[in-house]
């Protein structure tokens, strides 16, 4: 069965979610992945939004975290402070999906600007809740378009902290839990070394070569642990297309 990179990305990220996880969703691919996870792999996971909507029905896909669809049929409609009290709650395993303009080898993210902060070449939306969930959640999964200019040696602005400078540097900052679990791109899935916290190539999608990944990454990357991802099954694709995004707003 044919499938698109977006479908492979949503499913790759969805496969990382387990029953019991509390999934913090943004918009676009992340809401697709969170919904797919709940409907395919982890029916006992819970989707919630930084705006405060907890476990909405998601009969239609929200296109912003403040979309009315994040409020409809929810277990609870709360506010931002309540929502961040969930993200950082030590009793919960919270997983946040993020996206970014730039990422470095330790999974730190830039969603603020390209160029000098004071007179940027390109200004982006800014942190929103990204810095907060990167600081507080148990785990972060990041979606990236795989391009050399996005996988960079040095971020133009570090909006959200991943593994900071590697090893135990994150914890030394005062961020005692959390960190980045994986990076899902249109070519591959990347993870982080247990000790050094440096990014490595974990999976390449069927039809993608390791060389494709290397030449689209702006820094050297360990490829020795790479395996091929299993392609989407018919069932995964059917649920994704027919139940998760029937209006084709993201797919």
């Amino acid at each position: 069965m044919k499938y698109t990179a977006n479908e492979m990305m949503a499913l790759s990220a969805g496969r990382m979610i387990k029953d019991g996880d509390i999934v913090f969703a943004g918009t676009g691919l992340s809401i697709l992945a969170a919904t797919a996870a709940k409907r395919i792999y982890a029916p006992k996971s819970v989707v919630f939004f930084e705006t405060g909507g907890i476990d909405p029905t998601l009969d239609e896909m929200p296109m912003a975290v403040a979309d009315l669809r994040t409020m409809s049929g929810a277990a609870l409609n709360s506010g931002l402070i309540e929502s961040f009290s969930i993200v950082g709650h030590k009793k919960l395993h919270t997983i946040a999906f993020l996206g970014a303009a730039q990422i470095d080898r330790y999974g730190n993210l830039n969603t603020t600007c390209i160029g000098d902060y004071h007179r940027p070449e390109v200004r982006f939306s800014g942190s929103g809740g990204a810095n907060d969930v990167a600081s507080l959640a148990s785990s972060v999964i990041t979606f990236m378009k795989h391009e050399k200019k996005r996988f960079v040696e040095k971020l133009h602005y570090m909006t959200s902290v991943g593994w900071y400078k590697g090893y135990d540097s994150r914890s030394k900052l005062g961020l005692k839990r959390g960190g980045v679990y994986g990076v899902v791109t249109n070519l591959c899935v990347m993870k982080f070394d247990e000790i050094t916290k440096e990014i490595y190539l974990a999976e390449v999608y069927p039809g993608v070569s390791i060389e494709d990944v290397v030449k689209n990454t702006g820094f050297e990357i360990d490829t020795s642990r790479a395996v091929e991802s299993s392609p989407p099954t018919e069932k995964e694709l059917r649920i994704l297309r027919e139940e998760v995004d029937p209006q084709k707003l993201v797919l």
Binding site: L68, P120, G126, N131, G174
Partner: protein, 325 residues
């Protein structure tokens, strides 16, 4: 007996509310979040009355902020996020103003901004959080040094300190309280006693309102006291926080209002196009703000067919099947 509170001195028009409460250079807190419950009717009137040099504080803002910036009303901005969902992942006039250095800009995160409003509401000077440690939100300051400690600009952007209750290494970030001059809130209901009810997500609107000196509430409906008091646990603000009440149906258009109407994709797509070009944006302001003399005229211009298309299904709260591309 029976008579609760008279709000006749608080009920007014948007013209009067802006004229009385919004002055050049004030610190203005805008409620709502990206594409939902932006206080648009008030914002359009602020532009018409040519209020300038505003110091805007918000967490994640969308349309209201972008139009205000585009119209040249904003001098200074403390913000976590400027975006309009898929219709403008980064708000267009905000982006332009930041790139051209046209506004003084300071970045925080959503949680930090929410805590700053909460601190202001509680009357304490700061709140502590783990958010921001190690990031450029702390390492890079946007405001020029000379404005720190002046007006309503905090003396420091933040302070990192060691947890005083712990001997080990354990840093926390202190963020300064906000007490804006005015907060703008759009709610679904205000009771005839002045009680405010926000339906759906409240974001940080309650903290924003309680931290401000003056609170202006626009609403979809003014409802009987008996109705709003039948389920007090659903209410958001008691009347004594509220200084101005204005009934403005569709007052958050083109952003959404849970249970009443969805965001307006056609309008937001049009806005994106017009905001992307300086000349077109001037035309936009002329056509949709300056040449509009009443909210009814604005709604007529949007048109009954469009307003009907975004009308929310009252059961699920949004417009089911709305073409959102």
């Amino acid at each position: 007996m029976g008579k609760t509170s008279d709000i006749s001195d608080k009920v007014m028009t948007v013209e009067e509310a802006v004229h009385r409460f919004i002055k050049d250079g004030i610190q203005l807190s805008i409620g709502g979040f990206t594409v939902t419950r932006n206080p648009m009717a008030i914002v359009y009137e602020i532009i018409r009355q040519k209020i300038k040099n505003l110091h805007v504080v918000c967490h994640s803002q969308g349309q209201a902020l972008d139009v205000l910036i585009g119209a040249g009303c904003v001098k200074r901005l403390e913000i976590a996020y400027g975006g309009n969902g898929r219709y403008a992942p980064t708000c267009i006039r905000f982006r332009r103003a930041a790139q051209n250095g046209e506004i003084e800009l300071e970045d925080y995160s959503n949680y930090q901004m929410s805590l700053r409003f909460l601190a202001g509401a509680l009357g304490i000077p700061f709140m502590a959080t783990k958010s921001g440690l190690g990031s450029d939100i702390l390492n890079i300051e946007g405001f020029p040094k000379e404005i720190r400690g002046t007006g309503k600009v905090a003396k420091e952007k933040f302070v990192v300190m060691q947890n005083p209750f712990n001997d080990g290494e354990d840093n926390v970030v202190l963020v300064p309280a906000l007490n804006p001059d005015v907060a703008l809130i759009h709610a679904q209901y205000v009771g005839e006693d002045g009680t405010v009810r926000i339906k759906g997500l409240t974001f940080a609107d309650v903290e924003q309102a309680k931290s401000a000196d003056v609170v202006i509430v626009t609403c979809e409906e003014i409802v009987p006291t008996s109705y709003i008091r039948a389920e007090p646990n659903l209410n958001s603000l008691p009347n004594f926080f509220v200084d101005a009440i204005i009934k403005v149906p569709y007052g958050a258009h083109p952003t959404a209002c849970y249970g009443f109407y969805d965001y307006d994709p056609k309008y937001l797509n049009m806005y994106r196009k017009m905001a992307s070009d300086d000349n077109l944006f001037r035309e936009y302001l002329e056509e949709w703000v300056f040449s509009i003399s009443s909210h009814n005229q604005y709604l007529n211009k949007v048109g009954a067919e469009r307003l009907f298309s975004i009308k929310a299904n009252p059961v699920v709260g949004y417009a089911v099947g709305l073409d959102r591309k």
